[in-house]
Amino acid sequence: MRADDLELARRCREGDAAAFETLYRAHASRLFGLLTRMTGSAHDAEDLLQDVFVQAHRKLASFRGESSLGTWLYRLAVNQCLDHLRGKHSRMARTTDSLDAEDAAEPAAAAPALPQAIARIDLERAIAQLPAGCRAAFVLHDVEGLDHREVGKALGISEGTSKSQVHKARMKLRGLLRSAVPRGALEAV
């Protein structure tokens, strides 16, 4: 636990608006990236980002410093986001079922691979098109770097389900990215 985190939290609790802005500037872009990808919507992510910091402001009194402020905010953001997704899709798991048949099948006939470094904008667009359930698992695992045990804990699913959701997401992304890339561009790789 870093001493400057505790000091910043103390100043925020005492109503120091500049300290709270420092906290926001330090963490907002990481949280906004997470929320945008988890929800697939920059608009929803913006609302959630506000909710996260409003909630953080209210809950700073309970911040004891067991983790860093960044980790504490990250947990708040993930929980806020999951509440949002559960509200929006009352049965989140159902939204991923349709992926099974079409995407986890045997690979298609021989085709050139995607570029090794996929353009960021293409990947962001494709992630936004994923169903909410597997998108959340994919973002937490492949983008944020959580392991399957941590993803399972965050999403309230088993480790095996996390693996399955991430796999579905990757297969779906492959299809989306291949259909987005002009045939000529693929063949030129």
Partner: protein
């Protein structure tokens, strides 16, 4: 398809993630690599998934829009409520603000009021606010209200003294805003007469009192900003 191979394409799909994430035994790894060496389709699948993983991992933060912070400030009342909007409406700014001598006396009061706004906000946002009728919260509310009322009374005197230095349009706009806030204060107080422990009415009253404090501060500050002969410099 591929039934003659030790590892089928279907089986490779099942083990692909474990393979890419290093969770397979040496034997399974050798089987997969033998399959990849002879299969016309699977190498592209492996390369695609590897590219997706690596590209996803390289995605960085996304900068939120600038107004997101402003909205958070507004929701948390992190600056004096009403101040910016009023100044915008009047088309005035505090650039080059030089307080007049009599106004220095309110500087200490402004500091007290700033702390008070924070107390009021915390009280309004407290999870206990929904049960504010319980002793502690009600006492805190009454203390905050008394402090606000006292601050308003003292600021009102300074604002009345500053009034003649304001032009007619500014005075009229300020008066109209004060009248609106007084209506809100009256409504909240009426609601509290009917239900003294109602947390929402308490929050509304403190918010309205805080707005009045901020507006009176603006009035005093504007009078300091507009010295005789300088009005025409403002847009």
């Amino acid at each position: 398809m591929n039934d003659d191979r030790m590892l089928t394409c279907e089986r490779l799909v099942d083990t692909l993630d474990d393979y890419l994430e290093g969770r397979v035994s040496a034997i399974v790894r050798a089987d997969i690599e033998a399959h990849l060496a002879g299969c016309p389709a699977c190498p592209a699948l492996v390369a695609d998934v590897r590219a997706i993983r690596e590209s996803a991992h390289a995605l960085g933060p996304i900068e939120p829009p600038a107004h997101a912070w402003q909205h958070i400030q507004e929701r948390l009342h992190l600056h004096a409520p009403g101040r910016a909007s009023l100044l915008d409406r009047l088309g005035l700014s505090f650039a080059g603000w030089r307080p007049l001598q009599p106004l220095g006396a309110v500087a200490g009061l402004v500091l007290v009021v700033s702390s008070l706004a924070w107390v009021g906000t915390r009280l309004a946002m407290s999870p206990d606010a929904t049960v504010a009728s319980s002793g502690g919260s009600l006492v805190e509310f009454q203390l905050a209200e008394a402090e606000y009322t006292d601050a308003i009374s003292r600021l009102q005197e300074a604002a009345d003294a500053a009034g003649p230095r304001l032009d007619a349009l500014t005075s009229a706009t300020l008066k109209s805003s004060i009248d609106d806030i007084d209506l809100a204060i009256g409504d909240a107080r009426e609601a509290l007469v009917r239900e003294p422990g109602d947390a929402l009415s308490q929050e509304s009253l403190l918010e309205a009192l805080g707005s009045k404090v901020a507006l009176l501060q603006d009035t005093v500050a504007l009078a300091g900003d507009i010295e005789p002969g300088t009005e025409e410099q403002n847009p």
